[in-house]
Amino acid sequence: FGELRAGRPRAHLVCVLLIVFVAAASASHDAPQDGTHDPTNVTHKKGFPVLLFNYDHVRTPFEISLWILLALLMKLGFHVIPRVSQVVPESCLLIVVGLLVGGFIKAIGEKAPALDDTLFFLYLLPPIILDAGYFLPVRPFTENVGTILVFAVVGTLWNAFFMGGVMYGVCQLEGGQLASVDLLSCLLFGSIVSAVDPVAVLAVFEEIHINELLHILVFGESLLNDAVTVVLYHLFKEFSAVGTVTVLDGVLAVVCFFVVSLGGLLVGAIYGVLGAFTSRFTSHTRVIEPLFVFLYSYMAYLSAEVFHLSGIMSLIACGVTMRPYVEANVSHKSYTTIKYFLKMWSSVSETLIFIFLGVSTVAGPHAWNWTFVVVTVVLCLVSRVMGVIGLTYVINKFRIVKLTKKDQFIVAYGGLRGAIAYSLGFLLPDHPMKTLFLTAIITVVFFTVFVQGMTIRPLVELLAVKKKKETRRSINEEIHTQFLDHLLTGIEGVCGHYGHHHWKDKLNRFNKTYVKRWLIAGERSMEPQLISFYNKMEMRQAMMMVESGSSAKLPGLISMQNIQPKVESRGRTIPKISKGREEEIRRILRSNLQQTKQRLRSYSRHDLFADPFEDMNENLSEMRFRKQRVEMERRVRLRVNEGRSAEERLFCRVFPISA
């Protein structure tokens, strides 16, 4: 408690200092430039300048770093204050900070930086989506892909048209300032504000640990509705200028939708395959491995954006395609690097997005109209609920495991809007109603993030919604998952129809025979999944053991002895070993372990130190050996008082008489 108390004022002090810095930085346009030379007139000789102030030179990187630092210190600050972060989701707190900073900057008369769309779409959004896509749990996603697509496509279309239509009606009824809003503008507004936002969903759902099915439904929907949003947005934007939409345009829009989504997926898949293929050859340049992952993914996003395809879907496709092959090829360190860099960037991006959202709210021009804004917020909720209920009714006819009312409620309530809607609004060309729209969008975003974000956690508790399973998958579960896959495929075969499992099985076999051979280096390409899982588990356990330094972490006191049938261990003649032989054995054991250490190469900036855990292939058996050695040491210590001598037992373990 004492530590916390000390931390709080310190964090706050630094925050205040930083805010002052930021304000000072943005306010200092005319930093005096000392030391400028006048080439033609060297009449006076000034004293040699000891200290100069040249801010303009480093201005941009300095400000960017300062903003990022501020964002991260805020994040740090929240976790120092325990109670607040449990009630209020982080995203809300960050928006509030943004509001404060924006207010401060405005108060001192400066122009606050707005969340401009280039910054958002090209720099802040991709890391979050890549992080989500790379670590997307593929199995639940593919099992529910039908449901997700229905929600994403049909649900978003319903939301957009319903909202647009009803808004138009309301505007006409209301008259006055709103009468000038025509149908197309309303539809455009509807299409912007109807899409569920992946950033907001991630930020809120991260903290409530809901079960896998619901998480993947809402999150998958937020990712896949990007294609719909892109098409609708462009369609209405184009024709909002013209004024009319013909049937032909409608048909073209449908075609465009397929092109945008499938094209995005294709681009992503191509880059994914390229990335996987590249990673096959990186065994000698481990240091740059993570960069390939990041760059290929970013290129996939940018390439898709060039053609106005769905960048988000492209990024997801790239990450999902690349991942299994890259993970089989890269070293353990690169895997950790990729994981942590992705998490780091996405965390920073998310923080910055929410802070900027707050700042832009204060900065941006606003046009408040009570009717418009309130109707928008209410409509958002109503259309979402209606959409989810209606669609679930249809979907449940096709699902094996139906969605319950509780599930429907969470899906409906979890439909949060976020920064994407705001940026799309920002992107609008100078439309007469732009400020009105922006205000309404910001209000909806605030409402969903604050109200829905804060209340979803107590609601989840109240409704006793199933939470996420916390423990890691065990080897038994993995065995049975595979067993079930084959069993269900087999039963489908007996029943005679080609179902879901049949096609999945075919895809797996195709993957194993053709794709893996091209994209995975060396022997790992032939490794069945169960064995890779087992190896990974062993590796993890061995690392845990080495890190903890002792055998204290070994699960329980159960060992092989307890499960091997007694017949094997009885009747084993243990030869008496001489002291000399013992010494020899000890020497062999010791030197074996030392050999790994001697593989250190001479120091070079571009080399990683050789590490026993670097190449799983070569060192797995060695690790197993080490693990066994630790285990046998422990058991030797335990059984010191029993009949057999410790050395004899050591001998038996090292040279087991195979049954």
Binding site: L487, T489, G496, H501, G556
Partner: protein
């Protein structure tokens, strides 16, 4: 002719009430049964072995054996039949039905237990009520059987690790001299608790007859 048809309809209705399948689903299953048995009233192991779809399946033999296992009929008998009739066929298929929306938590628990029992019977080949280390090793070997030589060596290690895990979770404090006999049904339930069998071990049963819509072999 008419009398026998109404009799079959009655039989179907009775089966539908007993097992929970819809009448249409039972009719489709019956059609498939006739196809497999070659228009006979019973099917034997040879009939099932002829199914092409099962060729590439590593646990083919276990699946076929499960149909003839008397324990899955819940009659209290043990052993293996040589032939089964339509009723027994449907009874086995019953294990793969999905849960309905109207089921209570207790119903779901019962369904889960039934499905786990089916899996347990598949592993416990000697009918003694426990899965011993050898039986478990065999299971993993079969799973990896289509993967060549790498499979066999690793199968032993994997089965051992899995058994260790079961023992550690269920009987955490065993003395070094105690011996863990085998996985009992309770332990089996315990280790697979996280998988939620009632949501996973399901296949879609057709409500609409699509067997005539196949282009190509449907066997």
């Amino acid at each position: 002719m008419g009398a026998s048809q109404t009799r079959t309809e009655d039989v179907f209705q009775e089966l539908s009430d007993k097992t929970g399948f819809s009448l249409e689903q039972i009719r489709i299953l019956h059609k498939r049964f006739r196809q497999l048995s070659g228009e006979e009233d019973t099917i034997s192991k040879e009939n099932l072995e002829k199914i092409q779809a099962l060729d590439k399946n590593p646990i083919r033999n276990q699946i076929i054996e499960a149909f003839f296992d008397k324990r899955n009929q819940n009659d209290g008998e043990v052993g293996s039949s040589r032939e089964i009739g339509f009723q027994q066929f449907v009874k086995v298929m019953c294990h793969f039905k999905p849960p309905t929306l109207k089921m209570t938590t207790e119903d779901k628990e019962a369904m889960r237990r039934e499905k786990l029992r089916f899996l347990f019977n598949m592993h416990d080949t000697d009918n003694d009520g426990t899965i011993t280390l050898d039986e478990y090793r065999k299971v993993v070997e079969e799973l990896l059987s289509k993967s060549g030589a790498i499979g066999l060596e690793a199968a032993k290690a994997i089965a051992d690790a899995a058994m260790l895990e079961v023992a550690s979770i269920n009987v955490p404090h065993m003395e070094p001299h105690e011996f863990y006999e085998g996985i009992t049904f309770e332990h089996f339930e315990q280790i697979l608790k996280g998988l939620e069998m009632e949501s996973r071990m399901n296949i879609r049963f057709l409500d609409v007859d699509t067997s005539t819509m196949h282009c190509g072999k449907s066997q």
